[in-house]
Point group: C2
Chain length 344, copies 2
């Protein structure tokens, strides 16, 4: 079994462990941040961590009502600009904790008066010194070049943060996520068979919207890294602005289609794709989405949209890992890549 597959399967345990170990700390940070009157949340990340941040912007804005900005690190590291961040919470996200540009942004934000958090899988890394507080993912070392368990671990920390910063209203039932994740892993045999069919796929488009928009970036990145597929990623809204022209008969589209508010937009897109003769595969728990997709990876219908992003990305990770193997590639050894990327 590849290291990537093994780490994908460690996710339910990692999620459980991280919830148990970190909830108290997050609750304390949440109380502190409520007193501080945070008016803006800035997220700083690159690669898979940036995809987790893309998910987090939807989660934090919808759950906490605070505007979120996904930082452009080069504004700080190359252009050396000083932004007004005294009312901001700045969150750096880095699996290794050693991304030098992420750490530089955190240090500069602290100097501008922001409160800073670092989310990392390495409690001894540089980010623990750059940020005011560290949120630790309990994933054990990630050996796979393609991040999987640290991506969902980062997402989980954003759930904990969103719950802790929310004033009033119901909390999300985060404690359900580990068992949803375990159940998603049971789809492996079906996904492996589905991946066979895509052995010769060279291009595709991955679609997600809202809370699952980050997942579309993450699946596309896995397909680029481990399968060398040129994978575009769009929201079902943006896809209609231009990129739809790409689609010809049998063009493959993979869609995240949970029940919930993105349903109508996803259905509209799938119907357009059907008319164009495209090939669609949906990861969904919505029978209406299943009906208009060429094929479906069925998810548990009990999963609420707000809890869907972690369980829904797991079939996508499994798909990338198995597609890599059915293409005769080794997902643990993507050409040209190493685990820590230093940005200058």
């Amino acid at each position: 079994m590849s290291i990537m597959l093994r780490e994908i399967k460690e996710q339910p345990t990692m999620l459980e462990k991280t919830i148990n170990a970190e909830t108290k700390k997050l609750d304390k940070i949440g109380r502190f941040l409520k007193d501080r009157d945070v008016q803006l949340i800035v997220l700083v990340a690159r690669g898979s961590s940036d995809n987790a941040a893309l998910f987090a912007r939807y989660l934090l804005e919808t759950r906490c009502g605070i505007p979120v900005s996904l930082s452009a690190p080069s504004v700080h590291t190359l252009y050396k600009s000083e932004l007004r961040l005294d009312k901001a919470l700045v969150v750096g996200v880095s699996q290794s904790g050693e991304g030098s540009d992420i750490n530089e942004v955190l240090l500069r934000a602290r100097k501008s008066g922001a409160f800073t958090l670092g989310i990392t899988n390495n409690g001894k890394s540089e980010i623990t010194r750059s940020a005011d507080e560290t949120l630790l993912i309990h994933a054990g070392k990630e050996r796979s070049v393609a991040a999987t368990k640290t991506y969902t671990g980062q997402m989980l920390h954003f759930y904990l943060l969103a719950n802790s910063m929310r004033t009033g209203g119901k909390r999300l039932e985060i404690e359900r996520i580990p068992s949803y994740a375990a159940k998603a892993l049971e789809r492996e045999a079906q996904i492996k068979a589905a991946a066979e069919r895509y052995t010769f796929m060279e291009n595709c488009v991955v679609v997600g919207r809202g809370l699952n928009y980050g997942n579309s970036f993450e699946l596309a990145l896995k397909l680029m890294e481990t399968c060398y597929v040129v994978a575009e990623r769009f929201s079902s809204a943006d896809f209609l602005h231009g990129p739809l022209a790409l689609v010809e008969r049998r063009f493959p589209v993979i869609l995240f289609g949970p029940k919930g508010v993105t349903r109508k937009s996803n259905l509209d897109l799938l119907r357009r794709l059907t008319i164009l003769g495209a090939d669609s595969m949906s990861i969904t728990n919505d029978p209406a989405i299943s009906r208009v997709s060429s094929r479906t990876i069925e998810m548990d219908t009990k999963i609420d949209e707000f809890l869907s992003p972690i369980p829904f990305v797991i079939p996508a990770q499994l798909f990338a890992a198995h597609l890599s193997q059915s293409k005769g590639l080794d997902p643990d050894n993507p050409r040209s890549l190493s685990k820590i990327t230093r940005t200058f």
Copy 2:
């Protein structure tokens, strides 16, 4: 000549006209906004307009020191969330002024206490009623489905806004941009010949960073719309996080490489690409970038990085229009698209 090409060539005139007609209004708005103590700028757009907004986030953060957030419209339109925006300036960008989700976000932001601006090419459209003030592009009707003159017109308005909101320090010499744009058009014969070489290109990656990051999205979108090329877009920093694995011998990469702070990062990437045997074409005015690129579209060396995004995107637009024709396609009739996209 295609409508797209004709409209590309109208850009120097449009730029000149818009500067002359709109500068005073912008100066007034700038004074008003300085009094208001804006702490956050939110940009709302889709498609090409969203690429102009991506440029604007770098421009406004570096020139005005105010954090910028690129809005996720669905947070407002689907999830119906109320964000704290009382200290925010919210700018909607829409060529037609009829993007229903953009207008909904503007109306909701106004209700939350934000000051709102609409940038549009249509002074009689819905956006002029949704926003507090309208900034008009003087482009005449845009008939091409692929936006060109309205994209640079939107960028120009962000330049005017950045100048008007800046406190102290030198203003950018925006009045130079129309002649830089005119000079860029003189490259057409060379670009047409270059496009021939890419007739059978099916995939590519477009790279830009910082102020030219939005241009990389815009060229990729033009290539998808008018040439059906599956075009990825990345910053030279993010490209090293995973997507580099895509690159094999002769894989085409197109890069925006102005002189300035992004130089080192672009050079590093081009050197990696040379080792991998990739095919690179750079739009650049930096001899060092030229030397490590497989081929170059040379730009005027006098152009400062901060004024480069508009003149540098013009060769890219010309490239897409000519590539479409050399592929035997009609850039004015992309399959499956129409001019106004309504998002639900």
